[in-house]
Symmetry: C5
Subunit: 155 residues, 5 copies
Amino acid sequence: MSYRIGVVDTMFARVDMGKYAVEELNKYGDVDIVRVTVPGMKDLAVACKKLLDGDCDVCLAIAMVGAHKLDEVCAHEANMGIMQAQLMTNKHVLGVFVHEIEADNEKDLYDICVDRATKHARNAYLIVAKPEELTKNAGAGRRQGRADAGRLVVK
Amino acid sequence: MSYRIGVVDTMFARVDMGKYAVEELNKYGDVDIVRVTVPGMKDLAVACKKLLDGDCDVCLAIAMVGAHKLDEVCAHEANMGIMQAQLMTNKHVLGVFVHEIEADNEKDLYDICVDRATKHARNAYLIVAKPEELTKNAGAGRRQGRADAGRLVVK
Amino acid sequence: MSYRIGVVDTMFARVDMGKYAVEELNKYGDVDIVRVTVPGMKDLAVACKKLLDGDCDVCLAIAMVGAHKLDEVCAHEANMGIMQAQLMTNKHVLGVFVHEIEADNEKDLYDICVDRATKHARNAYLIVAKPEELTKNAGAGRRQGRADAGRLVVK
Amino acid sequence: MSYRIGVVDTMFARVDMGKYAVEELNKYGDVDIVRVTVPGMKDLAVACKKLLDGDCDVCLAIAMVGAHKLDEVCAHEANMGIMQAQLMTNKHVLGVFVHEIEADNEKDLYDICVDRATKHARNAYLIVAKPEELTKNAGAGRRQGRADAGRLVVK
Amino acid sequence: MSYRIGVVDTMFARVDMGKYAVEELNKYGDVDIVRVTVPGMKDLAVACKKLLDGDCDVCLAIAMVGAHKLDEVCAHEANMGIMQAQLMTNKHVLGVFVHEIEADNEKDLYDICVDRATKHARNAYLIVAKPEELTKNAGAGRRQGRADAGRLVVK
């Protein structure tokens, strides 16, 4: 048996994050990948929904968010749709959204993209194949895009 | 076989973007167009939903957003409805929203309208007829309304 | 055959906009009006939904929005509910919301109320009885509450 | 026959508004009251939904909103849920939300609570028992929490 | 008979709040706990929905919210999804969200986490096992995370 994972990304993004997600998922022997690309982030939710209504077990929804305030509103709308798609299908969609305002410069932006896409690809796999692996890290300050924050230690 | 594409626009907008979308769609031999006009952008979602519940394969939802902050709230509500319409029908609606605050002047506003309507009309066609064309441009920085941003190149 | 149009308004509003809507609708020979009043704008959505689940073909949802920021949040919630009611019933609800912050003074506020209620009553009729009339005005800069903005002319 | 009215409030609020609502409802001979208390305002929507899916005809959803901006976001989420609960059940839920930022001082806050709970309890009764009473006050500037604003008179 | 309570938390959080919730729930003799961990707060809603569609009677959705404005938007999206999950299942999900901006320092943040997780675990038990206990505290100014505010006393 293998897990079927949807990788849905956009033409709007300036980094091919889907490629990095696919590279990570290819490390696991029991994964089939379905890749779909849409114009922009507000098109992700229904694309994921169609895959999840089909035979995908989980999806990655991958987007880059511009720096204009209109882009932030779009990201919110996209995320609300992705939330809904999950509730309608009872399956997870892990959002891999990278916001330009997170990054210090283009190099930093690129690095965040690669790190987040890779780590969330792994999370998508674990959430369907080995959910107990996630529980071991409950409250552990795990981050995608940057280094982990770690557990809060208070004296 | 032909693809049935809904072009839904408003009386509120000051540019007949629907016309430009129709002109683009008419370039393809296998497209039937259904055109509907509603008063304002908050009326787009249900109009699209009705077309998609009928025999349309995909819709364009076309609007111009005024510069007042109330207009921005309306645009957000309209987009949330369009998001929902897609999830309820498992079909795409490409939003062609042009915001006055995007433009430097009226000429610029007009140009954005034409460019965005035309390019998204093409996207609407591709998403149902040739989805693999979109995947070729994953992460390629494609834009509608302005020139493409292109892929991020980091040394 | 006649069209059945719901006119739903509030006790909160300070102008009886429903009356002006009814006056306009009474000009058409083939309209039956159902009038319902609720306490405030957040009660409009379910009132419209009940009418549309019944035998109304379209509704007007009429409200006045106070100037406090809490009123604006309420208006957003009301509009999101109205959006949802439309998508659940596949019928239009035209929102006739007048915001105090739109107006220069009380006289101006009153005039906006009358103009918007009257024009949207006509739109509600056209949307079910003569939708092709709306298409003639696609992108024509039609406004309710103020004078039309007109088409954008760029040299 | 009697009307069944749900009174749903929170442990978070600092005034027992539910008590005032019940006192008002007890003035009517044909009302049965079902009282439910939840921890905070975001728990109101599903509590109302359960009552309306049962045999309640209408609900009051009663909450006090703190002055922190996080409290305002919670209130918005709570209200969106209440909106949804109404649309899913085709029954009214009257929101009795009192925001600390509305009040000048603690005495004022208390008075708003009592006034709003009492008047909306009456509205809840009227909306199911005598809806025509509400229509008489269409556009009459009725307020809950403060004195009525009255109709706008323009010379 | 025993009550089945879902404890759903994240790897993103820096405090293992789920552990404190479980400790509290273990004090009650008639509780079975199902623990699930997801990557981040936007993954909580569908995880809860799946448990509630299964045999859980109520869920705790536990998250820590970072200090960046993007984190606040995520929290809002997460909460809207949790709201929806409740309405779709007619069961309660108590949100245990701790925002970094609530705390004065890391020690304070830790204390809020423990207090809120513990008290809401108790609330989750009461809401299904002894709802009348909650009604005794209607309008009593109960807080989770900080000391109770208490009832408002006005002279």
